[in-house]
C-alpha cells in the first residue's frame, strides 16, 4: 500500500519545485446531497435516508512532457458531514497523478488518460477509516464542440481498519455531456461495478439472515463474510461486506453561473445485487456549487 503511494509522491515532488505558487489554481466545491437508503440496506422497511454535506478544495499542476503528452498532479481535501448519522462524518485527503495523451491538436482530438490516486479517509467511526488506492484509464473525445463522451475503467482497493469496510472493486463506465448553450449543460452516465461493497442491516434483520430466516443460501453466505456491529444507523446496526454487482446511472443539469462557476444538480441511482441475490437500491440527489479560482 505504501509502496503504491510512492510513485504519486515522487511525481508531485518532481512537478512541484519548478512551479510557482501562482500555477496551482484552486477549485472549491460545496455540495448538499440527499440520499434515499443512505444505509445501503436490503430491507426497505429499515432503510435510512439522510442528508449529507461536503466541502472540498483541490489544486494541481500540469506539465507537458512532450508533444501531446501531459502529466498532472493534484491534491484534494474534503470534509463530509452526515448530520443524522455523525459516525459517517469524514475527512478525506487525496493525491492523484495523471498521464494524458492527446492524439492531435484541437478540441476534437481524442484523449487517453491513465491515472492513479491514493486517498486517506478519516471517519468519525474509526473502523471505516482507511486508505484507498485507485488506478484508472479513460478515453475521452469531443464529438462536437458542445458534445463530449468518455469511457473508462477503474480499479479500487480500500484498506480499512475493520474488515467489513475493506473493498476491492472494478468499475467500467461511460458518460457524456452536452452543452445545450454556453450556460446550460446536460450530462448522463452509467457504470457497472463488480467487486465488494459494504452494506448495513438492522441487528434483527441481520440476525434473521444468520439464523436462516431468508433461506439457506443467504444463511450460508452471510456466515462466511466479515461483519461488525457499528451502531452507525442505530443501536445494534451491523455493517457487512458482500460480493456484488452494481449498476449505476446518473443524469444531471448544470447551469454555469459564470466562466468559473457552476451549479450542477444531479440524480444518481445505484442498483446493487449481491452474490446470493439480495438487492440494495439507493438514490441520490445532489446540488453543488463549484468554483475554479
Amino acid at each position: 500500500m505504501r509502496t503504491a503511494a510512492l510513485p504519486l509522491l515522487a511525481a508531485a515532488a518532481f512537478l512541484a519545485p519548478a512551479t510557482p505558487a501562482s500555477e496551482w489554481p484552486l477549485q472549491l466545491s460545496a455540495r448538499a446531497a440527499w440520499a434515499e437508503n443512505h444505509s445501503r440496506t436490503s430491507d426497505p422497511n429499515t432503510a435510512k435516508d439522510a442528508a449529507a454535506h461536503e466541502v472540498a478544495a483541490s489544486t494541481g499542476v500540469t506539465r507537458q512532457l512532450a508533444s501531446g503528452w501531459l502529466a498532472s498532479a493534484d491534491g484534494v481535501v474534503a470534509r463530509e458531514q452526515v448530520p443524522k448519522f455523525d459516525a459517517l462524518d469524514a475527512w478525506r485527503f487525496a493525491l492523484q497523478g495523471d498521464l494524458r495523451r492527446k492524439f492531435g491538436l484541437g478540441p476534437l482530438a481524442p484523449t487517453l488518460q491513465v491515472g492513479a490516486s491514493v486517498q486517506r479517509s478519516k471517519f468519525e467511526e474509526d473502523g471505516r477509516s482507511g486508505t484507498q488506492l485507485q488506478a484508472g484509464v479513460r478515453l475521452g473525445k469531443r464529438l462536437t464542440p458542445s458534445w463530449r463522451a468518455a469511457a473508462g475503467g477503474e480499479w479500487t482497493r480500500y484498506y480499512a481498519r475493520h474488515a467489513p469496510f475493506d473493498l476491492h472493486q472494478q468499475r467500467v463506465y461511460v458518460e457524456t455531456a452536452w452543452d445545450l448553450t454556453e450556460r446550460w449543460q446536460l450530462s448522463a452516465g452509467a457504470a457497472r461495478i463488480e467487486g465488494e461493497i459494504t452494506a448495513n442491516a438492522a441487528g434483527p434483520v441481520y440476525m434473521a439472515a444468520l439464523a436462516g430466516g431468508f433461506g439457506p443460501a443467504i444463511q450460508s453466505y452471510y456466515r462466511s463474510i466479515p461483519w461488525h456491529v457499528t451502531g452507525t444507523f442505530g443501536p445494534g446496526w451491523i455493517a457487512y461486506r458482500v460480493d456484488a454487482e452494481a449498476d449505476l446511472w446518473w443524469a444531471g443539469i448544470s447551469p454555469a453561473l459564470g466562466e468559473r462557476t457552476s451549479l450542477p444538480l444531479r440524480y444518481e441511482r445505484a442498483d446493487v445485487v449481491n452474490r446470493v441475490g439480495v438487492r440494495y437500491v439507493s438514490e441520490f440527489w445532489s446540488l453543488a456549487l463549484m468554483h475554479r479560482f
Partner: protein, 221 residues
C-alpha cells in the same frame, strides 16, 4: 545602387498611396436577424494597380490572460511577428493547425512569451491544447487597406480610387447552404471619388464557445 533604389521606390510608392487614399469603402454588416456584426474583417485587394508595397516588419501581441486569448481577433499584414506573452497564473500551450500557419508551442509558464512570424495570408485559428475553450483568430492580409467592424457593424477602409476585390470574413461566417465554415465573402467593387458603401448580410453560425465552467465528477457511489 539597387540597394538604395529599392527602399526609395518602396517609400515613394507608400507616400503616393497615402496621398491618393481619398476614397472610402464603407460596409455595414448585419447578421441573420439583422443585428450588427462586430469583429468582421474587411479588406480591399487592388485589381488594377500594382500590388501594394510590402509592409514594413511589424509586431503585434496576443496575450494569454484569464484563460483566454486577448484580443479575440487580430489583423496583421504578411510578415508581422506576433508576440504571445503568458500573463496568466497558469501555463498555456499554443497551436495552430490552419493552412496559413501551422505551429505548436509547448506549455509555457506565466511571465514567459513566444513569438511567431506570419508570412502567408489567410486565417489562423489559435488554440490551447489543454484549455479547449481558448480560441482566437489572426487574420493575415497582404493589403495595407483593411479594417474591422465595430459594435455598430460598420467598417470603413480608405484606399485610392480604383477597382478592388473586397473581402469580408468573420469567425462565425458559414456557407448558407452547407452550414460549414466559409472562406471570405468576395465582391468586386469600384471605389470612386465618392467612395462606396453597402450593407452586407452575413450568414453566421450561432455564437457558441466551448464551456469553461467546472464540470461535476463521475458517479459518487
Amino acid at each position: 545602387m539597387r540597394r538604395l533604389l529599392l527602399p526609395t521606390f518602396a517609400f515613394l510608392s507608400l507616400a503616393a498611396a497615402a496621398q491618393a487614399a481619398d476614397a472610402s469603402a464603407r460596409v455595414t454588416l448585419k447578421g441573420p436577424k439583422g443585428e450588427p456584426v462586430a469583429d468582421a474583417v474587411v479588406s480591399l485587394i487592388p485589381l488594377d494597380q500594382p500590388a501594394p508595397p510590402a509592409a514594413p516588419a511589424g509586431r503585434a501581441e496576443v496575450a494569454q490572460e484569464d484563460e483566454q486569448y486577448q484580443p479575440y481577433l487580430t489583423i496583421v499584414r504578411t510578415g508581422t511577428t506576433v508576440e504571445f506573452p503568458n500573463r496568466d497564473r497558469i501555463q498555456h500551450h499554443l497551436y495552430s493547425v490552419s493552412d496559413a500557419k501551422k505551429f505548436e508551442k509547448p506549455l509555457y509558464a506565466p511571465g514567459a512569451h513566444e513569438s511567431v512570424t506570419f508570412d502567408r495570408p489567410g486565417v489562423v485559428t489559435l488554440g490551447c491544447n489543454i484549455h479547449d475553450w481558448m480560441v482566437a483568430y489572426i487574420v493575415v492580409v497582404e493589403t495595407p487597406w483593411f479594417g474591422r467592424s465595430g459594435a455598430d457593424g460598420a467598417a470603413a477602409v480608405s484606399a485610392p480610387a480604383g477597382r478592388y476585390r473586397i473581402e469580408v470574413w468573420h469567425p462565425r461566417l458559414i456557407d448558407a447552404k452547407t452550414r460549414r465554415p466559409a472562406p471570405p465573402l468576395q465582391r468586386e467593387v469600384t471605389l470612386g471619388a465618392d467612395g462606396w458603401s453597402e450593407e452586407i448580410a452575413l450568414p453566421l453560425a450561432p455564437d457558441r464557445r466551448i464551456r469553461r465552467a467546472p464540470a461535476d465528477k463521475s458517479s459518487r457511489y
